[in-house]
């Protein structure tokens, strides 16, 4: 990786951080984004490190914590913000909200709010690529909590059985809402090791080290593309804000200020900047510049979102099906 490549990873993290922090403030203050929203603040290295290892033609699916994967894969920022504002100009036309982002042009296949739901979807996409002989890879982001869903295992089994080009990206942020891993998975075990039971390649990486994530992801994505089958990446990281919503919640109800602070000390942007300082001494100034650029970009996106029209209420029923007549009597299908 060249220094420029590495700088680009940092820039992408800064951009996502800046976008999410701005959106969190607006979300809290304005109360105009009426959609349950799960911020990735503190977890940017996973999305950025992984997505930078993909091509535009590869397709990424994610769970509810979706802004970072969407933006990292190249999803349109304007369309994201408009979606949060519920506007017709949103990436899902205002119908889906924060948990149902999509950008086909960028290769972001969709995010979903039901735990584990997109894991088999990525496997199915990979199966389609394998059937076509297309050199494409499917990826799916999900949390440590989602790995407890049976469909996670069913999906791993199927992907390994057919050696499909799919990369399972588990963002292990240690919690499922307020439940720590220790309340949900047996002590002394880990998620990546379960993949070994399917004969699948798997690795555990420091998810706050964007370069390590990127290197592992590149290996996994290219191996998948070359027909060597699936890979599971378990990326240890941490969310700074509350599970859903813009606030901080280090009040001891389920985690302490000290725990949050220690992870903030390992901020993925700071970790990357520190690692780069020797080869790019101007890194801090660059970060400031990027932050300013991104603030402007986000401001424009917010303006765009605000200016957009709400979906027309008369369109409430359109798009349930491909166009077809409803029953004349009752307007139902």
């Amino acid at each position: 990786m060249t220094t420029n490549d590495r700088l680009r990873l940092v820039r992408d993290m800064v951009r996502i951080r800046c976008a999410e922090e701005t959106l969190a403030d607006l979300y809290r203050d304005e109360q105009l984004m009426r959609t349950p929203t799960h911020f990735s603040i503190g977890q940017e290295a996973t999305a950025v490190g992984v997505c930078a290892a993909t091509r535009r033609t590869d397709v990424v699916y994610s769970a509810h914590r979706s802004h970072a994967p969407y933006l990292a894969k190249g999803g349109d920022l304007h369309a994201l913000v408009a979606e949060l504002y519920g506007k017709a100009t949103g990436c899902a036309g205002g119908r889906g909200g924060s948990v149902h982002l999509v950008d086909h042009a960028a290769g972001f296949g969709g995010s979903a709010a039901i735990l584990g739901e997109m894991i088999p979807v990525a496997v199915g996409a990979a199966w389609a690529f394998a059937m076509e002989g297309a050199p494409r890879v499917a990826l799916t982001f999900f949390g440590d909590g989602a790995s407890e869903e049976g469909v996670f295992h069913e999906s791993l089994n199927f992907a390994a059985l057919h050696r499909l080009p799919v990369v399972f990206v588990c963002e292990n942020n240690q919690y499922s809402i307020a439940s720590p891993l220790s309340a949900r998975q047996p002590a002394g075990t880990s998620i990546w090791q379960r993949a070994l039971g399917y004969g699948m390649a798997a690795s555990r990486i420091d998810g706050n080290d964007v370069f390590a994530v990127h290197e592992a992801a590149r290996g996994a994505v290219e191996a998948a593309r070359a027909g060597h089958g699936p890979h599971l990446l378990e990326l240890d990281t941490y969310r700074w804000r509350e599970h859903v919503g813009p606030n901080w919640d280090e009040d001891g109800a389920y985690r302490t200020h000290a725990e949050v602070a220690s992870w903030m000390g390992r901020c993925p942007i700071r970790v990357a900047a520190d690692a780069l300082r020797a080869e790019a001494p101007s890194i801090d100034a660059r970060i400031d510049t990027w932050r300013a650029e991104c603030a402007e970009e986000v401001a424009r996106a917010v303006d765009f979102a605000r200016a957009g029209a709400f979906p027309d209420v008369t369109d409430l029923l359109s798009g349930v099906y491909e166009p077809q007549p409803l029953a004349a009597t009752t307007g139902r299908n």
Partner: protein
């Protein structure tokens, strides 16, 4: 009588049943959480601790099967889901096993698994966080399915479920948790299968459950101002369904509106209409009307969401249309759950 909110009534029922029967335990994702599923499980956790109010992994299917096994061995699990939509993942264990257990194994005992599930609404809950599955579960013999509308019923039906031998699903609408009402101090059971006249009237019958009972009552208030008398029937449980009460009311009024939080097709509204068509069709003076969400998934965008959820206004309009020679318009109401403020 002293008043409690809906969530307090559920909390109190849980604590009282746990105190009276050591076999009762609560399990679910986040039930031990600070927020305690809208407060409903918090007091139980504080009183009985983590051995009886137990957080579980995100494994809805296994959790339901585990509850069946625990119930088969004499425990009384109360499983809680923060959204009813997650029940699809638990449906095999609940429908293919729990519901059929007593019958299929020759009537040698049942598995009284009690499941509470929250129906979301508002603040962009969207297509997969706001579904109310009463008809889907209500279709299957062997289950009891209830949708308490009042704090008293929220308490009484839960008490009944935790004492009886039948696998039971209780659907609770998020919009009800902060509503207050009179609730008996004691743990008095409310039987399943008996509806109640939430408000007597003579011109039109509105049959509803859960949140829609309140919307129907608000519609009734509104129409009373116009001299139209609406009878509101709260079915309380959708399985068993109190056919007698519904039919007796329609026999008196000759007009039926059914209001429901789920879709019309194959929904609660369909069943109520069918019961009337079977039993008192000749009392009907007007076509039956179903007031339900339109035939689309729940959208997120605020104006669409407002248009999606059925309200008092739409119930009132449906009633008005039926009453010959009545006024053609009433003033507009705001949503009964409009008090909710974000962020969520």
């Amino acid at each position: 009588m002293r008043k409690l909110t809906y969530w307090q009534a559920i909390s109190e029922a849980t604590v009282q049943c746990m105190a009276e029967d050591p076999a009762v335990f609560v399990a679910g994702e986040g039930v031990d959480d600070d927020k305690g599923i809208y407060g409903t499980t918090r007091a139980a956790f504080e009183r009985f601790g983590p051995t009886r109010v137990i957080d579980v992994p995100n494994s809805e299917n296994a959790t339901a099967g585990i509850a069946v096994g625990a119930a088969a061995m004499g425990r009384r699990p109360l499983i809680v889901h923060s959204r009813a939509d997650f029940l699809f993942l638990a449906m095999d264990a609940l429908v293919n096993l729990a519901a059929k257990w007593r019958y299929m194994y020759g009537d040698q005992g049942g598995v009284p698994v009690v499941t509470r599930a929250v129906v979301g609404r508002g603040w962009g809950q969207g297509a997969t966080h706001s579904q109310s599955l009463q008809s889907v579960f209500g279709h299957f013999p062997g289950l009891h399915v209830a949708m308490p509308a009042s704090p008293a019923d929220a308490k009484g039906l839960l008490v009944q479920a935790l004492r009886a031998q039948t696998p039971t699903l209780l659907l609770e609408n998020r919009g009800l948790y902060r509503m207050a009402g009179e609730v008996p101090e004691e743990a008095v059971a409310v039987p399943f299968g008996r509806g109640r006249i939430a408000r007597p009237g003579t011109d039109v019958t509105v049959v509803a459950a859960s949140l829609m009972v309140h919307e129907a009552e608000r519609a009734a208030d509104l129409l009373a101002e116009q001299g139209i008398s609406v009878e509101v029937v709260d079915v309380r449980s959708v399985r068993p369904l109190d056919e007698e009460l519904i039919c007796a009311s329609v026999a008196r009024t000759g007009r039926l509106v059914v209001a429901d939080t789920s879709w019309a097709r194959y929904g609660l509204a369909a069943e109520v209409a069918a019961v009337v068509a079977e039993n008192v069709f000749d009392a009907l003076r007007r076509p039956v009307r179903r007031v339900t969400p339109p035939d689309c998934p729940a959208p997120v965008s605020h104006p669409l969401e407002e248009a999606f959820h059925p309200t008092a206004d739409r119930i009132a309009a449906a009633c008005l249309e039926m009453v010959d020679g009545g006024p053609s318009q009433v003033r507009k109401l705001s949503d009964v759950t409009a008090g909710f403020v974000g962020p969520y």
